[in-house]
Symmetry: C2
Subunit: 251 residues, 2 copies
DNA sequence: CGGATCGTTGACAGGTATCAATGCTGGTGG
DNA sequence: CCACCAGCATTGATACCTGTCAACGATCCG
């Protein structure tokens, strides 16, 4: 449980906090939101547009969270006043279906926001489960609200995040829920490869691929095995690389 | 760019122009957003939380728009600085797929916001086409931004609209893209019936049902015809009523 | 080594797409 | 008014795709 920044209890004494903040600014460990300013992925996350002043004026705890593969971040229909910024790793958003099966409705990567629905006080719409070891920041919704009322600087980033929700949803329907299993699987592999910095990317289990594409585990396995036989896909443990051109022309 | 929202049907054009002319008259008589205050569906739309002051202080044109069934409100990948509030009618959001076919990714009804992606300056993600005669208000994005910077009162409503985008997307994946054609069709009929005020609801063409559920027109027709034969669905022209219990228990 | 988990493959049944033909209905023009 | 047309709905035959049930292989780890 790293980094509990218990500053909120001191809000009645702003002067003392200023002193404290300033004093520890020079330290290696930075309290409050100071560390957000130095975050190596700040340019990609929610606070990208904020200025040093904005961050310095807030005194609320942002906790670091580390998840191991398989850990649940939050449950479907749960409620809590936090949104999460993904620093590294991979998270699946899972919905339970009436018949007992599950459907993965989105994948979240570095820079993405998890649990954005907490911003309007709603229950989480899906269960969030880590596919890999994942690190993220837990941000109280009240911070967002305060930053937003102080200045409209956060507005654009919030709109952008919501927009990504919509465009991802579109992607899911267009690429992963339309056409036959072979075509959908090819689209998924291309999607996974596009968002990797090097040649190799994380290949989910056949069960997860099935839940992503709304096909059975067996069908997912058959298609993946066939791609491998045809030389369009190479796998090594949980990682894979593809022949883009071949997969783009699946028919 | 006035006239951007016009469209395929010749019949719609004179009517819309007529309406715009008339609109300029009422703007004179009734400046600012005064008419929004008196809108009969204001309690359901974006400006629900605003006070009379907020509306009175603005002087920007909000045009009324009337669409006939089949008219296009905006094109996919088009860009314009407007969002649209639906006062009455029904709109489908359509995405063109690489193979030339189309997928309906959402339906919009009274109170819904169309083209919400314009709020962050993005291109429209889908084409918007009226399924029935539809009336809506065209709101310049600048009004939203101005209202939002003056007071945070719009914030909640905006979050709510974005949240609806997400939860609708979930619905589409869970109800309309999972399971066999019979089950998905039953879910669609229940969805359409749930949002109607009386016993009868609008039944889309078989082609649209197919585009909604990602099945062929023929399959949609077969399932609908079968439901009718089994007495679970009655149709009269473009309208229908259902036996809820029977459809809820489709295997 | 043995068990657990995941991936692969086979056989078969059932569901869906495809191609094609035929009703059905509202609207149009003679 | 009626015949006709265009678009939509329905239905059939068939091939293909996918789900289901079952068995077996591969890998990892204690």
């Amino acid at each position: 449980m790293p980094g509990l920044y218990l500053v909120s209890e001191l809000t009645a004494m702003p002067a003392a906090i200023d002193m404290l903040m300033h004093q520890q600014d020079t330290d290696h460990a930075c309290p409050g939101l100071e560390k957000c300013w130095h975050c190596t992925c700040r340019s990609r996350v929610l606070f990208a547009d904020l200025r040093h002043d904005d961050l310095g004026s807030l005194h609320m705890p942002i906790d670091d969270i580390e998840l191991s593969a398989g850990d649940t971040l939050y449950q479907e229909a749960a409620s809590s006043p936090y949104v999460y910024t993904l620093r590294s790793g991979l998270i699946k958003l899972v919905r339970l279906l009436p018949n007992g099966s599950v459907r993965i409705v989105r994948l979240l990567r570095s820079g993405d926001l998890a649990g954005i629905e907490a911003l309007n006080g709603s229950l989480y719409l899906q269960q969030a489960i880590a596919l890999q070891d994942t690190s993220l920041c837990r941000i109280p919704v009240r911070i967002i609200e305060q930053l937003n009322s102080d200045s409209p600087r956060l507005y654009k980033q919030l709109m952008t995040r919501w927009h990504k929700v919509q465009s991802d949803a579109d992607l899911w329907l267009a690429k992963f829920s339309t056409g036959n299993a072979r075509k959908r699987t090819a689209n998924l592999l291309l999607y996974l490869a596009d968002n990797s910095h090097d040649e190799f990317f994380f290949l989910p289990t056949r069960e997860d691929i099935g839940a992503l594409l709304s096909v059975t585990t067996e069908t997912a396995s058959r298609v993946i095995a066939d791609f491998k036989r045809q030389g369009m896909l190479q796998t090594r443990r949980q990682f894979a690389s593809i022949e883009r051109y071949a997969l783009q022309h699946i028919g």
